[in-house]
């Protein structure tokens, strides 16, 4: 990065934050500060919901995912439109009618205070830890490739977000997210244009897509019923509905975004905006990765994209082996390039040998993949596990080595914008839930609004400090990102179960669902420590157990009704 890139990066980030704080100044009452007093339009809500979900790791990892495995990852988002329709039609009108600040406040209305605190507590535990990863994951990659100090990157990013989130509240978060998404879209378009310009002359977009498709990188939809396949249409729709419903319907970092709408209409349209645009956006990011893959078919890529890890090991005991693998990789790549050009020429000429040429190209690709896999094994054997995969370094390497200055600054700004927009939502939601569901509800009821606004600012700062501390010590946990995903899956299912019982099982009361949720959580933990199934299944198990146990317990306890006066309390 040169001075121009730093000017673009710092100017964009600081300018947006200052603008957000200025626009959100004079927010003194609790509704203003936490819910923007319902003044946000559907466009801002839509972009804010999108910015909260799209973290920095989305833009660092997703193109790399397409580089490695093709477009199949887009199926992961196939459940999202249906889930958002359910949230807009069922969850949202109830939240708005009850004028709740948090989703867990609804559990208090529907059941009782202890169930509300259980839901809020599970959210704070899971999201509090995940917010550390929101800072840590991009910091480890950016500090590696840019040579920045990792601890300084974490502390500066975290402190920056705390300042504007605490100063401006929910309104500042929404306003800054709108402009951060503008930076993200501008960065993606710029990257797409540069990638197309870098593809060899004469190939064009159609030719590039042919090369990507010929090498199996454009397999977007898989109708296979094979349960061992990671991404299929069916797992995407079924699993995706379940996960998206948990995330958008019950996670306060999202609920807070759409509850700030001027009206039910604005909130619903904001959600529908995401339901329509999320899949095309993810497809576009994956396509970018597929085009980077095509670029590297004609321009020799590094055998390992994490240059820092490679350089560290190349000078050590495994150095000679790694250099031999690098030479083998370069030779295999030259052969691969020849095979691709031969296949393209055969296609253009309508040669009957096209199929044979393609088979030869795929065989060369398999050899190239085998050498890269061997190099990764050699690195892993020499240095133990790493918290990030090499695919995470593909896009950032392309950006730093191939993009013009200025655009590099814009794309690093894109990554930071994604990181801080997600973190701002998380910290605002953590501060709000702590204030509304614990501090105001349990510890200090009946205080003036200004008191709760001050408390919310302190709790947001506290959660920001927790996130920074967790990120600073995150390297102590091996394969940390997976550990956090497991943690989320362990708790998300039970929380969704609580809400599904609340919405759809009218006969179940607070006591039954509270003890059912505890039993379901204990079951999930017991299964986690005794089985070796994929962690994604714990979402389904936790939810099904919570719903099933609630029905059984309510049957044993009898009538689940509570007096209306108690409901309104």
């Amino acid at each position: 990065m040169n001075p121009l890139d730093y000017v673009v990066l710092l100017g964009t980030m600081i300018g947006i934050a200052v603008y957000g704080m200025w626009k959100a100044r004079l927010r003194h009452n609790l509704s203003d500060y936490l819910r923007s007093d319902h003044v946000v339009g559907w466009g801002t809500i839509g972009l804010s919901v999108m910015a909260t979900q799209a973290s920095a790791i989305t833009f660092l990892s997703t193109p790399g995912q397409a580089y490695e495995s093709g477009l199949g990852f887009v199926q992961n988002y196939f459940g999202l439109p249906l889930a958002l329709v359910i949230v807009a039609a069922v969850f949202l009108p109830i939240y708005r009618r009850l004028k709740v600040y948090t989703a867990y406040e609804y559990l208090g209305h529907r059941f009782d205070p202890k169930t509300r605190l259980l839901g809020a507590g599970l959210f704070l535990l899971q999201r509090g830890l995940a917010s550390g990863i929101t800072i840590y994951a991009p910091a480890i990659i950016l500090s590696t490739v840019l040579g920045w100090r990792q601890d300084a990157t974490i502390v500066l990013t975290g402190t920056f977000v705390i300042i504007y989130t605490v100063a401006g509240g929910n309104d500042a978060v929404s306003i800054t997210q709108k402009w951060q998404m503008a930076v993200i879209f501008a960065g993606l378009v710029a990257a797409f244009v540069v990638v197309l310009a870098k593809i060899p002359a004469g190939l064009g977009l159609g030719g590039a897509l042919s090369v990507a498709g010929g090498l199996g990188k454009l397999q977007a939809v898989d109708f296979s019923l094979d349960p061992d396949k990671r991404y299929t249409l069916w797992s995407g729709v079924l699993g995706g509905v379940f996960l998206s419903l948990s995330y958008f319907g019950t996670d306060q970092s999202q609920v807070q975004r759409y509850l700030s709408g001027t009206s039910l209409r604005e909130s619903r349209l904001g959600l529908m905006f995401n339901a329509v645009l999320k899949i095309p956006m993810q497809f576009f990011i994956l396509l970018l990765g597929a085009l980077v893959f095509v670029f590297y078919q004609f321009d020799t890529p590094p055998v390992i994209f994490n240059h820092a890890a490679w350089a560290a090991h190349a000078q050590g005991e495994t150095g000679a082996r790694l250099r031999a693998l690098e030479a083998g990789f370069d030779a295999a790549h030259a052969q691969q390039r020849e095979r691709i050009e031969a296949w393209l020429a055969a296609r253009r000429a309508g040669d009957p040998e096209t199929a044979a040429a393609r088979a030869a190209m795929l065989a060369a690709q398999a050899r190239l993949d085998a050498v890269r896999a061997e190099a990764r094994q050699a690195l892993a054997a020499g240095g133990g596990g790493a918290p990030t995969s090499d695919a995470d370094y593909v896009f950032i390497t392309f950006v730093l080595e191939q993009m013009p200055h200025g655009v590099i600054g814009l794309l690093i700004a894109l990554i930071f914008a994604a990181a801080i927009s997600s973190l701002a939502s998380e910290l605002a939601a953590l501060g709000e839930t702590t204030t509304v569901d614990f501090y105001r509800h349990v510890l200090r009821p009946d205080r003036p609004d200004a008191h709760y606004v001050r408390a919310s600012r302190w709790f947001t700062t506290l959660w920001g400090a927790v996130a920074i501390l967790f990120a600073l010590f995150a390297h102590l946990v091996e394969n940390l990102i997976q550990a956090i995903n497991i943690l989320g899956s362990i708790f998300y299912g039970v929380v969704l179960g609580l809400f599904l019982v609340a919405f759809f099982l009218r006969r179940v009361g607070g006591t039954a669902v509270f003890f059912a949720a505890l039993a379901a959580q204990a079951l999930v933990l017991a299964l986690y420590f005794s089985l070796s199934i994929s962690f994604l299944w714990y979402n389904a198990i936790g939810c099904a157990a919570c719903v099933g146990f609630s029905l059984i317990l309510q049957t044993l306890l009898g009538d689940g009704r509570r007096p209306a006066a108690a409901q309104a309390a």
Partner: protein, 60 residues
């Protein structure tokens, strides 16, 4: 045994806010929210068809 009554503060499932649910979404061509939801699900179906077509077109 008498069936349990709904808690007063919670609307029936799927009712989604009563009047608001059946209100005009204020979008040209959409008179009800139900139509908006069908449009969204139609877009999703169209994406799947287009992506499947892309897969088939460029895998030859």
């Amino acid at each position: 045994m008498k069936p349990p009554a709904a808690p007063e503060s919670t609307p029936p499932p799927g009712a989604g806010g009563g009047a608001a649910e059946s209100g005009d979404p204020g979008l040209p061509g959409f008179r009800t929210w139900r139509r908006v939801y069908w449009f969204v699900l139609g877009c999703f179906a169209a994406y799947v068809v287009l992506l499947a077509w892309l897969t088939r077109l460029f895998s030859r």
